[in-house]
Structure formats: C-alpha cells, structure tokens
C-alpha cells in the first residue's frame, strides 16, 4: 500500500502521528491508518483540560463499518481539540496530516524521543501489514 509518511513527524505503532513543537504536541492519525479504516464518519476526542497518558486510549474514530480506539503518543494535558474536524471527520481521509485531532501540552518533552521516526514507522508499516 502506497502511503505518505512525512519526515518531520513522529509516529506510534498504533498509527498516530505527532508533531513536536517545544512542549506542545499535535496529534493525528496517519495516512496508512485512514486508508486502512476507509470512509471515516465519526470522531470523538477529549475536551480541553483532559489528562492523557502515553499509550492509553483518548478517543474513538469510526468508519462506516468499524470502530477504532485512538492512543495518545504522549503524557500531558489536552490544550485544544479540533472541533471543526468532529463536524467533518471525512477530512481525515482526504488530508490525514492536516486533520489534527488534539494538541497536548507535555510534562516532559524528552518523552517524544521514544516515538518512532519516519524511517522506523515506514519499516513498521512494511513489515507488520
């Protein structure tokens, strides 16, 4: 499967992407994930102020025929959610890396070093699916 994996982002094995800018991490789901899910029709993400733990579920994305949990790449507090995207979740299909879900203020920015690089994620997608 041809898939777009930008070099400037970090990734999880659950197919979330993370854009790290200082202590703010913007989170979305990857092109690989949106393609596997198909037509996305429903999105549920946490409100501002919600505390998240790295690796734990923080929301749900649904396609016509499936329900998938979202996993937080980092530990921290939600400072913003993409409310517009909840109203038009199909944008995740058309522009996976523009369609961010939440912004998280992390306690410890060094935690993001544990995430996969673009090379590592590419390798992961090629070997595990």
């Amino acid at each position: 499967m041809a898939t777009n994996i930008p070099m400037n982002l970090k990734y999880t094995k659950d197919h979330e992407w993370a854009l790290v800018e200082g202590d703010i991490v913007t989170v979305g789901i990857t092109d690989f994930a949106q393609s596997a899910l198909g037509d996305i029709v429903f999105l549920e993400v946490p409100e501002k102020g919600t505390h998240l733990n790295a690796g734990s579920t923080f929301g749900v994305v649904e396609s016509i025929k499936s329900v998938s949990d979202l996993y937080s790449p980092v530990t921290g507090e939600v400072v913003e959610k993409n409310s517009q995207l909840e109203a038009s979740p199909e944008k995740i299909n058309s522009e996976a890396y523009e369609a961010w879900l939440i912004k998280v203020k992390v306690k410890d920015a060094s935690e993001t070093n544990n995430l996969l690089t673009a090379e590592q994620y590419t390798e992961f997608c090629n070997t595990s699916h």
């Binding site: 198909g38 037509d39 029709v41 429903f42 749900v60 649904e62 396609s63 016509i64 025929k65 329900v67």
Partner: protein, 356 residues
C-alpha cells in the same frame, strides 16, 4: 485453510481488501464503502457472492418436499417464482433463511447462506426419506454474481442470449454462448437487480464483461450497509439458532394454513420472545451487540445490526427487544461507550429501494 472464489485473483488485481468470512477469503471493499453503496443505489454494482450455497431438489415430489421443509408457501407459488423463507427445526427455531427458485415442476434451486451450507444440507437430507426426489449440494460447481442497481437490466441483457424484463422475485433459465445460466431478479440491496448462477468460467467471463462496462465492483461491507438500509435480516444477527421467525419480524413468511411443514406445531403455539425494531440515531453510530435501554435507563434489548447509513448519513440499527419489556412510550436509548444516545423508532425501512 480458507476457500477462495474463482474470482479471487480478480479481486486482488482490483485492489480489494480481503477478509475471512464464513470460511472464505472475500473482498470486503474495493475503493470506498460509501462509493460502492451509492453505485448500487444510483447506478449499478456487482458482488461476487460465490461463497453462497446452491442445492438442487429434483424429482416428482421436489415441490412437495421443499414446501414441507420451509415455512413459506412453495406449492401455490407459480412456476418461475422465487420465494424467500426461513428453514426451521421442529421446535420452530431458525436453521437458516434462504431463497427457493421454482425452475421447473421437478427441479428446484435453493440458495443458502455460506456459513450454513453443511448444517442446512444435513438437515434437509434427514427429512428426505418420505419423498420421491433427490437433494444435491451443487455449491462447488456454481459461482454466483449479484448485479444490483437501477441499470442492472440494461447491462445484463447485453450479454445474455435472452433476458426478458422479468418480474421481481422471478427466475429464468437462459444461456451465455453455450453455457446455461440461471438468472433471478432477486438481491440483497433493495434495488432492482439480478442474481446470476452459472459455472465458474461463465461467471468469470461475465465479471470481465461487467468490469469492461464500468460496473462498480462492490464488497461485503457495502452489501451489509445496503441490506441494513432496507432492513433485510442477516443470519447470525437478526436470525440465529435460538430464535423463531416471529422474533425477527418474519411472521409473514410462516404460512400456518399449509397442511404440514417442519416446525408447524411449534410455530402455531409459539409466541415470540422478542420484537425486532428499527432505530435511527441523530448522533452516534449503533453497532452489533450494543445495549438498548428504555426511558428509565433499564436494559431492554440489544442491537442485532447497526451501521452508519450512507444514504441517510445517520446511525441506523435493527434492535431485538424483549417482548415483555417493550416500552409503552416507545422511547429508546442506545449505550455507546457508556454514553446514552437517543434513538428514534421508525416503522418503515430506513431507505426505500428502487426494486420493481
């Protein structure tokens, strides 16, 4: 070890996502479920449903035997008719739901669900001894395509030697070059369309013709959305080994005036334990197995099938409610991830198909 239909390589070439279903590797979607659903509603799509089972009943008492096996009326239906029916045990529970095709007086085709082929065949065989006819499982010799959508007739008649403008739920024996083809104006989408039974090479050739005519290949996901939008039951969801036809709202298929059929005594005295209802959600998508609650937040039933409707762009579901807990106010809620969503009861199917 899973089975593959004779079109498996074609599906892979088209980029289909393949999933295991009822022991078969089947295409679940090609491009987009939404596009595939809309192709069938507005234009024409084709499904490879070769995993389904085909039985032939042949001989002097073929009609009488099938009429005895199933709950719906086979004897009084005219020749060339297709009849949907549950197949029940003596205690009235449903073994499968199937379509009976009256090809000739002494020759009947029965199409059954893939997951139930062996169960159905063994059951039917066990009831055969008093009838002068044979029962053959021809599933391995037949492939099956469902060509569905408003343009289905226009496309299909181009390729078959002869195809009259048949009535809905009728069957016709024709040919593709020298090969026999059984064509039925039936389907599982609510739209006009045909189910086409033939040998593997004929079906492969027809599939190629359909692809060259811009017919949209459609997968099992679209098929499930389409059938649920028009509220057709699916075995394993609305029907199963523990339920009787009344539980699934299929009372219209039980002809208790017939002199005798398997399950008649049980079904005459049996009340239904459940009511199967149609729910529409303004917000949230109901899924199979989710709980249904009344206005007092008490558990009263389960979602049997649920999805996002492509046509309505809303969550829709068939729900099974315990009959003794059916609420007078007809107010329903669905529990989606520990949150309660209001669900509107509707009496009519969510979508009106365009079939004849």
């Amino acid at each position: 070890m899973t089975n593959k239909t004779h079109l498996f390589d074609e599906h892979v070439k088209l980029g289909a996502k393949i999933v295991p279903f009822a022991g078969w590797d089947m295409p679940v979607q090609y491009t987009s479920v939404k596009e595939e659903v809309l192709a069938v509603r507005q234009n024409v799509g084709v499904f490879d449903v070769s995993h389904m089972g085909e039985f032939f009943v042949e001989g002097a008492e073929a009609e009488a035997f099938v009429d005895y096996l199933v709950t719906n009326d086979i004897l009084n239906a005219p020749m060339g008719k297709a009849i949907y029916s549950p197949l029940c045990r003596d205690n009235g529970t449903v073994i499968d739901d199937l379509i009976v095709y009256k090809l000739q007086k002494n020759r009947i085709l029965i199409c059954v669900n893939a997951s139930n082929i062996e169960k159905d065949f063994n059951w039917m065989k066990s009831k055969l001894s008093n009838f002068s006819c044979t029962l053959t499982n021809a599933s391995d010799s037949y492939s099956l395509l469902a060509l569905q959508g408003p343009k289905a007739y226009e496309i299909l008649k181009k390729f078959l030697n002869e195809l009259p403008d048949m009535e809905y739920y009728s069957v016709f024996e024709t040919a593709y070059f020298q090969s026999p083809v059984i064509v039925a104006r039936t389907g599982y989408t609510g739209e006009d369309g045909f189910e086409i039974f033939a040998n593997h090479s004929t079906i492969k050739s027809l599939w190629e013709k359909f692809m060259a005519s811009n017919v949209t290949p459609c997968g099992l996901a679209a098929r499930d959305v389409l059938r649920l939008e028009v509220c057709y039951p699916l075995y394993g969801h609305e029907l199963n080994d523990e339920l009787n036809p009344y539980d699934a709202g299929l009372g219209w298929t039980v002809k208790t005036l017939k002199p005798n059929f398997v399950g008649k005594q049980a079904l005459l005295s049996k009340a239904s334990a459940f009511k199967t209802i149609k729910l529409v959600l303004e917000k949230g998508i109901p899924r199979d197995g989710y709980s249904v609650l009344n206005s007092k937040n008490e558990l009263i039933g389960t979602i049997a099938s649920g999805t996002m409707s492509v046509v309505l762009n809303k969550g829709v579901a068939l729900a099974r409610i315990k009959i003794d807990q059916y609420p007078e106010d007809e107010i329903f809620q669905v529990d989606i991830r520990q949150k309660l969503y209001s669900a509107q009861l509707t009496k009519k199917p969510f979508v009106t198909g365009g079939h004849k």
